[in-house]
């Protein structure tokens, strides 16, 4: 495992693009130390900012001392494992296609945005989790994100498949404009959940305080898929039925919002 231990507190944002297992695996120790990253508006070598221990031959990379100034951690990774002892900033896991990204602290906005594959585990996250960068027509299209705590607004916006599991609360506009995909939330969700959704599934453990008029209740009924999904995400649920909402009617009404009873 290659461990990157921060030498001193950062004074500017650090762009961690390219520091991913599939690239680091190919480098020798001297090459790793000389690897260029952008710190503020300066190009610096990794060894200038970090103590490097070990190597990445096993595809494992470990960040120590990270914080919200670490951006693009794990962006575009396609294999291996990155673990982060601490928090990260924006765009972590952006566009990743494989591998596992584990963040023991908080992630900033756009965690897993435009993600196509792989898995992310994080303690909590900001806005636009699994969503789309400005100008993208799709958000996350594959892979899986599991959040142990709370997330911000606009989770899974535009998603086009993939799975997001939030064990805490979610903010407003959960699954807004959802085209496809599945988002499960254990805690309370904010306003406008499912606004503009075309397809896809929102699975909630708690009834939202307010739902948009485009989402209409259809039935209280057992759905086999609910049992399948709950086992897939390892959520305990002794009951059987869900309250099924369809919507957004303004966009065809083929999306579903399921509330576990």
């Amino acid at each position: 495992m290659l461990t990157l231990q921060l030498r001193a507190a950062l004074q500017a944002p650090l762009d961690c693009t390219g520091v991913v297992p599939e690239l680091m695996q190919r480098l020798t120790i001297p090459e790793l130390e000389r690897y260029t990253v952008y710190y503020g508006n300066q190009a610096v070598q990794l060894a200038d900012l970090f103590h490097l221990h070990g190597d990445c031959a096993d595809g494992a990379l470990h960040w120590e001392g990270s914080n919200a100034l670490f951006h693009y951690v794990g962006a575009a990774m396609n294999s291996g494992t990155i673990t982060v002892e601490g928090s990260v900033g924006w765009n972590a896991g952006l566009g990743m296609t494989g591998g596992v990204l584990k963040i023991h602290g908080t992630a900033g906005d756009y965690l897993g945005a435009n993600m196509q594959g792989g898995a992310i585990e994080v303690a909590s996250a900001g806005n636009n989790l699994g969503g789309a960068l400005a100008g993208s027509r799709r958000g996350m299209t594959g892979g899986r994100i599991v959040v142990q705590g709370d997330v911000g607004d606009s989770v899974g916006e535009l998603m086009r498949r993939g799975l997001i599991v939030i064990n805490g609360q979610a903010g407003a506009f959960l699954g807004a404009n959802l085209i496809a995909g599945t988002i499960a939330v254990a805690g309370q969700v904010g306003s406008h959940a499912g606004a503009g959704m075309k397809r896809g599934t929102l699975l909630l453990r708690k009834t939202p305080e307010q739902l948009d008029a485009g989402l209409i209740p259809t039935a209280d009924i057992p759905l086999t898929f609910t049992q399948l999904l709950l086992r897939h995400i390892s959520w305990e649920y002794p009951g059987n039925s869900v309250t099924c909402y369809r919507g957004d009617l303004l966009c065809g009404g083929r999306g579903e919002l399921l509330i576990i009873q």
Partner: protein
């Protein structure tokens, strides 16, 4: 060779490759799953005149099924993937999709690129309201129905299975020979990966290839018919007045062989059984020759 005083013929069962898949049907109760599975595997004795050979493999307890509900595993065999897909789509569509609370899953590690599409063909019943969901690498189709939804996995892996393994039991009279056959069936059904597609697992009308009637592909195996002994060349020794055949289809040759071995062991303990043989076509048709003596090499007392 003898086993428990029963003569084991020095012959072989001739078996054939057939494409196979496993389908797991779940429902709200074991009874409804069994109802659906029984109908889905009905009229599935032989590809001589049925679209597939099919039977229930075993019950699946809730903790072993994808949705945590009681289930039943079924095996289906056909000549080709195309035939298999067509048969299963029809059967599931008519007998499982229609049955309350059911869902259908695949459960087989198949050959890469050789899957058949079941849910992907049934989805059109949803008339545009069907939903595709992907969890991991599996795609499921959810079709709205009057009791909620019918869920079916999109693709089902297939393997090259072995069909036509068999043993023929020769006994003194009908009740004792049928009892021996029942013991064999019970022993064979403890084995995963095999089915006995005929009624109760037992065939009373063993057949031979061809007929004097041009329209028929198979006809009665007169060599084993006790009422024809003496007027046709017969395989029945003196004292044998009844025969029953057990046909086995399995996902692997090893599974079929083990089923035959267990069946021979179980049947040989029954009173009134004189010998155990097997059916073949001279060895020129099927690539699998399952020799009875070889199956029992370590067990039988010579």
């Amino acid at each position: 060779m003898q086993l428990h005083g029963v003569e084991i013929a020095d012959t072989f069962a001739e078996a054939f490759p057939m494409v196979a898949t496993r389908v797991v049907i779940t429902a709200c109760t074991a009874e409804w799953a069994t109802t659906a599975a029984t109908l889905a595997t009905g009229y599935g004795c032989s590809v001589i005149a049925c679209d597939a050979e099919a039977a229930i493999e075993c019950d699946r307890p809730p903790q072993t099924t994808p949705d945590g509900r009681p289930g039943v595993a079924c095996l289906f065999f056909a000549f080709s993937r195309e035939h298999l897909q067509k048969a299963i789509v029809k059967r599931i569509g008519q007998t499982v999709l229609t049955c309350p609370t059911t869902a259908v899953y695949a459960d087989l590690i198949g050959e890469p690129g050789k899957a058949i599409r079941i849910g992907g063909n049934l989805r059109y019943f949803g008339d545009g309201w069907q939903i595709s969901k992907k969890l991991g690498d599996q795609r499921y189709w959810r079709i709205p129905t009057m009791d909620g939804e019918f869920l079916c996995e999109d693709e089902f892996p297939t393997v090259k299975g072995v069909a036509g393994g068999n043993i023929i039991l020769l006994g003194e009279d009908q009740p004792q020979t049928l009892h021996a056959a029942s013991l064999a069936v019970a022993a064979m059904r403890t084995l995963p990966g095999v089915i006995l597609p005929f009624p109760g697992g037992v065939v009373r009308s063993g057949s031979k290839v061809g007929s004097r009637y041009k329209a028929l592909r198979a006809s009665t195996n007169e060599a084993y018919c006790p009422t024809l002994r003496g007027v046709v060349p017969s395989q029945l020794p003196v004292g044998v007045n009844c025969c029953y055949e057990i046909v086995i289809d399995g996902l692997t040759q090893a599974a079929v062989e083990e089923a035959m071995r267990r069946g021979i062991h179980a049947a040989s303990t029954a009173p009134g059984l004189r010998s155990i043989s097997a059916g073949n076509y001279g060895g020129n048709l099927g690539p699998y020759h399952l020799r009875l003596h070889k199956l029992l090499a370590e067990d039988a007392a010579c």
